[in-house]
């Protein structure tokens, strides 16, 4: 059986504005990333701001084409399909965006926004209305909002509306880019539960992009830790969080704040150094300027993902 989504050696490279004919400057947003997602499986991607998480997500749903590499959906390579096939495929792959404000067209009313996916795909009015009723009750929104514009409803309502739109065409695969970041805890729980439900009932494949490690540990079965465009540690979520191997993973997990203070902190590694600048990538291991167990080889040679232990665990580090 083929994977729902299989990404092979994805890279996304941007030309830097400062580059000239003589000196080519590139910004590598995503660097040689491979991952697979099964039906009914949820995979987390964590990392600092600007490490390429969102760009990776956009490539997975086919909204941006990778510079190198390929994304396969159900065994078909998305970038090689003819336009008519892609149009049919699009509703199967849905993004949920980080910023609810910019997800909704400010000129559309709530009614128009919720109906839009059905209008685009020529779905009959009666079918659409039935589905809309279902969706609105899912995300707990009422029809009294129909006449309002996006700026006239609350941030939580906007986010839930965005979610309803993403779910409206019954997708197989969702990339959720921080869907809960702008919500308060109670609504957050509702949204996450809803996503979990969709996952187990409809076999939805989910990629959860976030820097909120606690939500990722709750929501996902596998996790990929990303640093400056590439994965530094991948494995089963529970395993990675209980026993982080890569110094960066240790640092991330050590930085999680908990209500009961230090008790549950896993690593004692403190966060230090600044988030990296993708324009001036460090030689060797990208993380070495911030790493406290950095050796000579880290500065010279780039580590690749290697299997660690007997579980499904890969780590890119020289000092394991």
């Amino acid at each position: 059986m083929s994977y729902l989504i299989e990404a092979k050696h994805l890279s996304k490279v941007f030309k830097d504005k400062e580059s000239t004919v003589f000196k080519k400057k590139e910004i590598i947003a995503v660097d040689d990333v491979s991952l697979t997602i099964n039906r009914g499986e949820s995979v987390g991607i964590v990392g600092e701001s600007g490490c390429g998480k969102s760009m990776l997500g956009k490539m997975l749903v086919g909204l941006t084409l990778p510079t190198k590499g390929s994304v396969n959906y159900d065994g078909n390579e998305i970038s090689k399909l003819p336009y008519s096939e892609i149009k049919k495929l699009r509703p199967r792959l849905q993004p949920i965006f980080q910023d609810a404000d910019s997800t909704l067209n400010p000129k559309f009313t709530v009614k128009k926004l919720i109906e839009e996916p059905f209008v685009i795909n020529d779905i009959s009015k009666s079918d659409a209305n039935q589905r809309i009723d279902e969706l609105l009750s899912y995300v707990n929104l009422g029809k009294e909002l129909y006449g309002r514009y996006p700026h006239e409803i609350s941030g939580g309502q906007r986010q839930r509306l965005g979610l309803a739109r993403a779910l409206s065409l019954k997708p197989d695969f969702i990339v959720a880019d921080e869907p809960a970041a702008s919500l308060d805890s109670s609504v957050q729980a509702q949204i996450l539960q809803l996503l979990n439900q969709m996952k187990s009932n409809h076999g939805l494949g989910l990629v959860y992009v976030s820097h909120n490690l606690r939500i990722v540990s709750m929501m996902t079965e596998k996790v990929n830790v990303m640093y400056l465009g590439s994965f530094v540690e991948t494995g089963d979520t529970q395993d990675v969080f209980d026993n982080p191997v890569h110094p960066y993973t240790k640092m991330l997990i050590g930085s999680v704040l908990t209500i009961d203070g230090d008790k549950r902190k896993l690593g004692k590694t403190k966060v230090f150094g600044e988030p990296p600048d993708p324009k001036n990538r460090a030689t060797g291991c990208a993380f070495h300027p911030r790493c406290d167990c950095c050796t000579q080889i880290c500065k010279e040679e780039r580590p690749i993902l290697k299997k660690v232990g007997d579980k499904n665990r890969f780590v890119a580090c020289h000092n394991m």
Binding site: L63, K87, R90, P91, P95, N105, I120, N121, Y149
Partner: protein
């Protein structure tokens, strides 16, 4: 510290009514001027260069024609031509700006090059050169000013399109299966139109001025037809003997342009749903 007096919503509304009322009166006079003042081209040498009076509010010109009626006759020509010019320029500008911004790459580069060429030319000089080739005439005037006018729209539309095409709602519509035509028409176009409309109304005033200046130089509307620029040119000859000849046309020109601009702002506020929210 200075204290700013904030206008309440009611005061703002009253202000809009006053502006629209004034504009309406002017527009009625302008639009129906051939019926209100049918004999504005009648020459009467006995009434040459008279001072403003109750019969002739703005005085009379060197042929004894009533300046008041000629001003509105002239404004009618200017306003009509300006509307046509801006409509053509806006259409070209929107089409090129949307395509250039949305498609990007080589198309964008090509259109940018063309826009630079057009913008590098001083409008009046380019217009005079074109008129010299095509010959004077009202149709030439319209063509020339439309050809010179679209760049301003295209630039704004292009830059706004660049902003909106990266917004998440455009990606969302694409993810839902929307085609490029759908996204351009339903998502980008309505959002781009908002910043362009005030410019369009501003440009109507600008168009009136451009027609007037070309006529002033003798390249636009030809006598005996009335046109503000033409009238100002004729009045300038008599500036020492009859300085009041400049006052009437000048005031009406300034008022019409200012009122059209005010109307443009009002339309923008009305069209922006976010602005309406703030006024409550």
């Amino acid at each position: 510290m200075r204290k700013y007096k904030v206008k309440t919503k009611k005061q703002q509304k009253n202000l809009i009514w006053i502006w629209s009322g004034l504009l309406l009166i002017l527009l009625i006079l302008i639009v129906f001027s051939p019926y209100i003042f049918p004999d504005s081209n009648t020459i009467n040498y006995e009434l040459q260069l008279q001072k403003p009076s109750f019969q002739h509010w703005f005085g009379t010109d060197e042929f004894g024609r009533d300046l008041f009626s000629r001003v509105f006759n002239g404004m009618r020509t200017s306003l009509m031509y300006s509307l046509i010019i801006e409509a053509i320029a806006l259409t070209i500008g929107l089409a090129i700006g949307l395509l250039s911004g949305y498609l990007g790459g080589k198309v964008d580069g090509f259109f940018n090059y063309i826009m630079n060429v057009f913008q590098a030319f001083p409008t009046t000089i380019a217009a005079i050169a074109l008129i010299a080739v095509l010959g004077t005439g009202d149709l030439t005037l319209i063509i020339v000013l439309s050809v010179m006018g679209w760049v301003a729209y295209a630039r704004i539309v292009r830059s706004e399109t660049l902003i909106f095409k990266e917004r998440d709602f455009v990606l969302g519509a694409r993810a839902a299966g929307g085609s490029s035509a759908y996204i351009l028409g339903k998502h980008i176009f309505p959002n781009v139109l908002l910043p362009v409309l005030p410019l369009a109304t501003l440009m109507i005033g600008h168009g009136i001025m451009a027609i007037a200046s070309l006529s002033f130089l003798g390249f636009g509307v030809q006598p005996p037809n009335a046109e503000i620029g033409l009238m100002l040119k004729d009045s300038a000859t008599f500036i020492s003997r009859a300085p009041w000849l400049l006052v009437g046309p000048g005031i009406v020109l300034a008022m019409v342009v200012a009122l059209i601009n005010a109307l443009g702002d009002a339309i923008r506020d009305k069209m922006d749903p976010q602005k309406q929210m703030m006024e409550i």
